[in-house]
Amino acid sequence: MPDSQKNSPLVLVVEDYQDAREMYAAYLRFSGFRVAEATNGFEAIEKSVLLKPDIILMDLALPKMDGWEATRRLKLDERTKHIPIVALTGHALAGHAEGARQAGCDAFVTKPCLPDALVAEIQRMLASRVGDRKDTKRAPKAPGR
């Protein structure tokens, strides 16, 4: 991990489908973020508490504990409730979006979501949080082409 990235924001990618998870992780690293990974709801809560990520990318359909439940718990926990959560959903239904918002998600992205679009959404979210946080971390610029 290069030094330039030591202070870059930490993104927790919660996704049970390995291909997708590693793809997003690879692209986020490529785009200058630090990345942690979780494969289910329990892991997501565990790593959030432990690693205190700057943002969580949360797939909703997860084994053991789904994304909605994990989100609800994270938002009830004093230690983690300030972390913005971007929900990833495969069902582009208004019902799913609403469900995600009720669970405490701050934004949601419909799959399939191109890595570019995902990175853009994460940067947007982090930028809106700049004034709120003491330990402000500069969001990396999107990789230029």
Partner: protein, 709 residues
């Protein structure tokens, strides 16, 4: 009582005067019998003595002869005979007595003209004391002799002494016979008159007197009636018939003087010649009033009878007409079984003319035999007035079998004897035919009913099957929708990875790519995007069809949405050589609808227009229809256009007009199909106007606010 008509009307009125008149008559009269008659008439009317007889001695026969009587029956006169020699007879003794004798008893052991009452016998003798020449018998008014009776007896004694010595005995005898004759004709109930040829009355009997003479104390009406009767009678006699010696009969209408009613008499008059009195006429009147009435009644009865006969004839005629008009044969047979009456239809069966030929006659005989045996049923069954049964007859002319139903009824006389049998026959041919037809019809109907039942059962079964199929289909449809929804999700996950890694490669995440690698990666990318579009479209259609496409209504400006759509498609527009313009009015009212879906439709329509227009322009116009309160957004291009027959097909699933695998235009072929479905969901429509080579115009129409459905 008999007297001449002239005397009857000359009777003196008062007692003294009449007594004087009687005395005068006796002095001048020379006929003892007439004197006696006149005297006892006077006695009868002035003393109340009821029965009076005058008898005189017939010296030659030594017999007593009755010469005058009053109130004595003619039988008593005829039966009476008394011989002078029968000295023991009380009447002979009384005659020999110097004084009147009183017979006080009602009944006597001897025969007497005055019977059943007490009576006096006064001998008639001359003053010189010679034996009595006669006697006067009077019914008693008391034990003492009535003074007037004594006076009359004295007068008759003198008259007898003066006249009897001169009168021949024969004359006396004739007198008695004449008296008897008078008594007889008086007994006749018919009025009898003896008149001269002019009709002047000589002698009349009692009954005639009632008609032709009135007593002096008669009423005016009575007198006039009597005068009228005399006139009518004279007129009747004076007609020519009286001139004949032959008895003449005629009718004579007279008046009953007492009742005033009309009396009709038959007048039988005949001329008689008498040596002393010349020609005179004897007339007998017979009262035929009742007869005439009876005759009238008989005539009336006869007329009634004739009328009744005419009625019966009419009735019979009507009956004939009626029974002839009945189509069924009717026959009347007597107790012997012989036909006495038959109507025309019956005649055809039982009576054909000899000219009809032998076979016809044979049939008639057979029919007759059948009928006789049928009728015998009602004749032999006592107590039953009716018999019903079938008879097998045949038509005499054609020989065709003729089954008939017969009803035979008996007609009894008032005494309960069988008079006739009436038989009515009814042709059963038609009934039998009908019964057969009915049977067939019933069978047909049953067959039909059975079939209908089978069909109904079939239909019920089919219905049940359909219902189950329907349920199964619904379940299958729901499963299909669920499956497609799941499938599209499952498609996306790997597709997400494909797109993502392709994108990463293209972005040089894994290092630099060669030009040919980039070209291949670009192909992978575009095909993956196409696949993604297909999956999204299928998911949309599935959701719409499953009714799982929710509407999110909001109010927005159409022109703003149009600008948004245009800006989203800006990269494509830039790549094309087309002029794309939007003509929207700011006066458009805001639209209340599902913004996302309207946008989807417009994106689709515009990208289609761009896709299918190689050169020229694409124009978007938005307008508001006040009347329909609808907003119309038209997307017009100058592209390839769509032939008319294909214009409906473009809205169907997976239809692009060019079905070749190497389609030049790309797209899923589901876009218009989804657009139309979405527009319908929003209460609107999409119309297409197009000419091949001239371009197409797709118009989306939406209500400015959703209408309740």
């Amino acid at each position: 009582m008999l007297r001449s008509a002239s005397q009857a009307v000359q009777l003196p009125a008062g007692d003294i005067e009449s007594k004087l008149a009687l005395a005068e008559f006796l002095l001048t009269n020379v006929d003892f019998q007439a004197s006696a008659r006149r005297a006892i008439d006077w006695l009868a009317s002035h003393t109340g003595v009821e029965q009076i007889v005058v008898a005189v001695e017939d010296a030659t026969a030594n017999q007593l002869l009755l010469v005058a009587e009053h109130g004595v029956s003619s039988a008593a006169i005829v039966d009476f005979s008394l011989s002078r020699d029968d000295g023991a007879h009380p009447l002979v003794q009384a005659m020999a007595s110097a004084e009147p004798t009183f017979f006080p008893r009602r009944a006597h052991s001897f025969r007497t003209p005055i019977d059943n009452v007490p009576f006096h016998v006064i001998p008639l003798r001359s003053d010189d004391g010679s034996p009595a020449h006669g006697m006067l018998l009077t019914s008693a008014t008391g034990a003492d002799l009535h003074p007037e009776v004594a006076w009359v007896a004295r007068m008759l004694s003198r008259q007898g002494e003066r006249l009897l010595s001169r009168q021949t005995v024969a004359e006396t005898r004739v007198g008695q016979e004449r008296m008897l004759l008078y008594s007889i004709i008086n007994a006749v109930t018919d009025p009898i008159l003896l008149t001269d040829v002019e009709g002047k009355l000589i002698i009349a009997n009692n009954h005639a007197e009632k008609l032709f003479a009135a007593p002096e104390d008669a009423s005016e009406g009575w007198r006039r009636a009597v005068a009228l009767n005399n006139m009518l009678f004279s007129a009747a006699l004076s007609t020519s018939a009286v001139a004949q010696l032959e008895p003449a009969r005629r009718e004579l209408l007279l008046v009953d003087p007492l009742e005033g009613s009309d009396l009709l008499f038959e007048l039988l008059s005949s001329r008689a010649k008498d040596e002393w009195q010349g020609t005179y006429v004897v007339s007998i009147l017979r009262n035929v009033t009742d007869l005439a009435r009876a005759k009238e009644e008989i005539e009336e009865s006869y007329r009634t009878l004739r009328l009744a006969q005419a009625d019966v004839r009419d009735e019979r005629h009507r009956l004939d007409l009626i029974i002839d008009s009945v189509a069924d044969p009717i026959l009347v047979t007597d107790q012997e079984g012989d036909i006495v009456l038959l109507n025309e239809p019956a005649e055809r069966l039982f009576n054909v003319p000899p000219s009809a030929g032998e076979p016809a006659q044979r049939h008639v005989r057979a029919n007759g035999a059948h009928l006789t045996s049928f009728v015998s049923n009602v004749l032999t069954r006592t107590g039953e007035q009716r018999y019903r049964g079938e008879i097998q007859l045949s038509d005499p002319l054609t020989g065709r079998a003729l089954p008939v139903e017969g009803v035979a009824g008996t007609i009894l006389s008032e005494q309960g004897e069988l008079m006739w049998v009436v038989t009515i026959l009814h042709d059963l041919t038609e009934a039998i035919e009908k019964a057969k037809l009915y049977e067939r019809l019933k069978q047909g109907s049953e067959e039909l009913e059975r079939k209908v039942q089978e069909a109904t059962a079939d239909i019920a079964e089919q219905n049940e099957l359909l219902r189950r199929q329907h349920i199964a289909l619904e379940q299958a449809s729901a499963l299909k929708s669920q499956f497609l929804a799941n499938m599209s999700h499952e498609f996306r996950t790997p597709l997400n990875a494909i797109l993502g890694y392709t994108h990463m490669l293209l972005n040089g995440v894994t290092g630099a790519v060669t030009e040919s690698q980039r070209k291949s990666l670009t192909r992978i990318d575009s095909n993956s995007r196409h696949l993604l579009a297909l999956i999204n479209d299928i998911l949309d259609i599935t959701r719409i069809e499953a009714g799982r496409m929710p509407l999110n209504l909001s109010t927005f400006q159409v022109q703003e949405l149009v600008r948004e759509v245009m800006s989203e498609l800006e990269p494509i527009v830039k790549r094309s050589n087309l002029t794309v313009t939007a003509r929207t009015r700011n006066s458009l009212p805001p639209l209340k609808s599902d913004r996302q879906k309207v946008k989807q439709i417009l994106l689709n329509l515009l990208s289609n227009a761009l896709k299918f227009t190689p050169t020229g322009s694409v124009t978007i116009t938005a307008s508001y229809d006040e009347k329909r309160r609808s907003v119309a957004v038209a997307v017009r291009d100058t592209g390839v256009g769509i032939p008319r027959p294909d214009q409906t097909q473009v809205f169907e699933d997976f239809r692009q007009l060019d079905n070749s695998p190497a389609r030049g235009y790309g797209g899923t072929g589901l876009g218009l199909s989804i657009c139309r479905r979405l527009s319908q969901m929003l209460g609107g429509s999409i119309d297409l106007e197009s000419e091949p080579g001239q371009g197409s115009t797709f118009t989306l129409r939406l209500p400015s606010r959703p209408r309740r459905r």
